[in-house]
């Protein structure tokens, strides 16, 4: 940016005499980052489509029709006429002609791939949202307690984090998921476990996935929260609050957490692609969501064996996964750049 432009902006009439909060500064910075805004808009659109999936998905994601299996993209079949004798075209109106037109083709069981991709977005987004929330809450509570308490408590709590950090969590998460899976198949005697298993079944196997992913990802957040608390704990405004006799709870909730929350939220937005990948990876190796709930990872797994003849069954879910991740990455990078004051003005 040229100097004149900057001066022009600074002396912009509307803004003279008005202070800007750091929040407003950051938002301005974020809005100026076109790619990040684009990423955020795209994520918004995907969220909307996922919520309104029944409207956008032309067919059911689970109804099988073996006569129409492995249709190529844009290919249609007349479900009334014998298989493949009379093909429909993508421009035919499905309602009028009794045609089934598969925008993205159909899978090995004759399920419409496009509908499955749209419903699959629900899983990815739900995992992203819940994993981010769970790890944020656990990390925030754990890190704040550890940082605020200090001394022996802090030392002990951080040793636990160090331990978890040093062990390979993915194989253990896989074993945990297998354990839940096996228990779920066997059923349980205790009322609590039965209730939990029931919730899990209702959610299509997502509940245990959330637990497994949440168990992995709060560690980094706890470290970050602790570091933030430590850096703010001895600042003047906290001392002032202590001096006028504010309670510990007041200091934690009114003074520390608002300051800790910002960096944590940004770290979460950067971590979301990791959560989406983890869900896809677990579903790919046959853990994670239960069929017929469509997950992009599970769809890649299903289509993978037929990649020679029906590559679209792998490519479309893969593209969907990558584009959503790309949008989250652009958004997260933009948020970090906008809120990290050290980076500002260096472009």
């Amino acid at each position: 940016m040229t100097a004149e432009k900057q001066i022009q902006e600074l002396t912009n009439e509307k803004e003279i005499g008005k202070g800007r909060s750091p929040m407003q500064d950051a938002l301005r910075e974020f809005r100026r980052n076109k790619i990040a805004v684009g990423g955020m808009i795209f994520v918004g659109i995907v969220i909307f489509i996922a919520i309104a999936a029944p409207i956008f998905a032309p067919y059911s994601f689970e109804t099988q029709n073996l006569r129409n299996n492995r249709a190529k993209p844009m290919e249609g079949y007349d479900v009334m006429v014998t298989y493949a004798e009379e093909k429909c075209h993508w421009y035919d109106t499905p309602m009028e002609w009794g045609c089934t037109v598969f925008i993205a083709g159909s899978d090995a069981l004759g399920r419409d791939l496009w509908s499955r991709i749209i419903y699959g977005a629900r899983i990815s987004l739900a995992v992203a949202l819940v994993a981010a929330t769970v790890s944020l809450i656990i990390g925030l509570i754990y890190g704040t307690i550890s940082g605020f308490a200090g001394g022996k408590v802090d030392n002990f709590m951080m040793r636990i984090v160090d331990f978890l950090y040093a062990i390979p969590l993915l194989p253990i998460i896989i074993l945990m998921t297998v354990y839940f899976d096996a228990v779920g198949r066997q059923g349980s005697d205790s009322a609590l476990m039965t209730a939990v298993l029931d919730i899990n079944r209702q959610m299509g196997g997502l509940f245990f996935l959330f637990i497994a992913i949440g168990a992995l990802n709060w560690i980094g957040m706890a470290r970050l929260a602790r570091g933030q608390v430590l850096s703010y704990k001895n600042k003047e405004f906290v001392e002032a609050a202590q001096a006028i006799g504010a309670s510990r709870g007041h200091i934690i909730f009114k003074h520390l957490i608002p300051n800790v929350l910002g960096p944590l939220l940004i770290a979460e937005s950067m971590a979301i692609p990791g959560y989406i990948f983890l869900e896809a990876a677990l579903s790919f190796i046959g853990l994670g969501v239960d069929p017929p709930t469509p997950s992009w990872g599970a769809m890649i797994n299903e289509g993978y064996s037929g990649i020679r003849s029906n590559a679209h069954l792998v490519l479309f879910p893969g593209i969907a996964l990558s584009i959503l991740t790309l949008a989250f990455n652009f958004m997260g990078d933009g948020l970090r750049d906008a809120f990290d004051t050290r980076l500002r003005g260096r472009k």
């Binding site: 096996a182 990558s322 990455n329 652009f330």
Partner: protein, 323 residues
């Protein structure tokens, strides 16, 4: 430094102990046992009892645990229940070299691609080259091995028929137990799996290198180096690069972990006989010893990787002292 390494290795012992304990308890807590069925039918009670006694599974859990622990210390990882002709040691001897070769090559590719790209982007700051490189980096971070693997197979394996789509190109015996003979066949097989893991890491490294180099290039000592008339190449390579790589060192830890994570998926996609695939394929069975031992090996690798990062850190930044 030696003191630091020894201290860290000693500290790793309780971590490994707790890790084995947790895994051991978890795999034994799973409902059912390894000898519940014979083919499609239920195993007769008395035969199951005999088999369980044969493998010591009838003993109390703590006794089994300590027996296993002492056997591991002696170098015996235990038997396989379903393939009695092989032991866990055999499985590890077959699969460990494959996973290590894959992981090391992926990390090498990540550095060999990432650092030059990051330098190019930083030196052409705010030009088209920079934007294209940065965009490519974000793009490759966004395509996981799970997607990149099948795409590579479809492009280079199925359509162009340049590369083989499955299996590993090297067989034991390996040089020093893990290095393969560098034949063309080996590299042709390795290319796609290595790149499907390595590109994500390369993108991360490129971004960190770029940020680090930009940071360093605006510092005073670089201005001094330029002011005294040094060639630009000397300024970059000798003065700037080493300091700008300090943040890059931080990614090696996650990168090693990522190579492990990636191997679970990539070995599955390319049908490689590595540890990740063995682990994933064993999850339906109750192979207690195999599962615990593989987690143990992953844990040791991770601990050694983290230690290596800390040592590298001290070498790159002499201000860091561990004593």
């Amino acid at each position: 430094m030696t003191k630091f390494i020894i201290r860290r290795l000693l500290m790793a012992i309780p971590v490994i102990f707790l890790m084995i304990l947790a895994t051991f308890v978890l795999v034994h807590a799973m409902p059912g046992g390894p000898f519940d069925a014979i083919g499609q039918r239920a195993m007769p009670e008395h035969i199951r009892n005999l088999l369980e006694r044969r493998y010591g599974l009838d003993k109390p859990l703590y006794e089994q645990f300590f027996t296993y622990l002492f056997n591991v210390i002696k170098g015996d990882f235990g038997p396989l229940f379903r393939q009695p002709s092989q032991t866990v040691n055999d499985i590890i001897a077959q699969t460990f070299p494959v996973s290590i070769q894959l992981g090391l090559m992926a990390v090498t590719v990540a550095f060999a691609l990432g650092i030059p790209l990051g330098i190019i982007a930083a030196l052409n700051h705010n030009t088209a080259v920079d934007y294209v490189t940065t965009f490519l980096a974000v793009l490759s971070v966004s395509v996981p091995a799970l997607v990149l693997g099948p795409v590579l197979i479809y492009t280079f394996g199925v359509n162009l028929k340049w590369l083989p789509i499955a299996f590993w190109g090297a067989d034991p015996p390996f040089i020093w137990g893990f290095l393969p003979k560098p034949t063309l066949e080996f590299f042709r097989h390795a290319a796609m799996p290595v790149f499907s893991i390595g590109t994500g890491g390369a993108a991360g490294i490129a971004r960190l290198t770029r940020a680090g180099l930009l940071d360093v290039l605006s510092s005073d000592y670089i201005r001094t180096a330029r002011a005294k008339g040094l060639k630009e190449r000397i300024v970059i390579v000798v003065h700037a690069l080493k300091n700008s790589l300090i943040p890059v060192a931080t990614i090696i830890g996650p990168l090693l972990a990522g190579a492990v994570t990636g191997s679970f998926i990539t070995e599955q996609i390319f049908a490689l006989n590595g540890m990740g695939r063995r682990f994933v394929n064993s999850i339906g069975a109750r192979e207690y010893f195999l599962q615990t031992s593989l987690v143990l090996i992953y844990g040791i690798l991770l601990i050694l990787g983290n230690l290596f990062v800390d040592i590298l850190y001290a070498w790159l930044d002499p201000r860091i002292r561990y004593d």
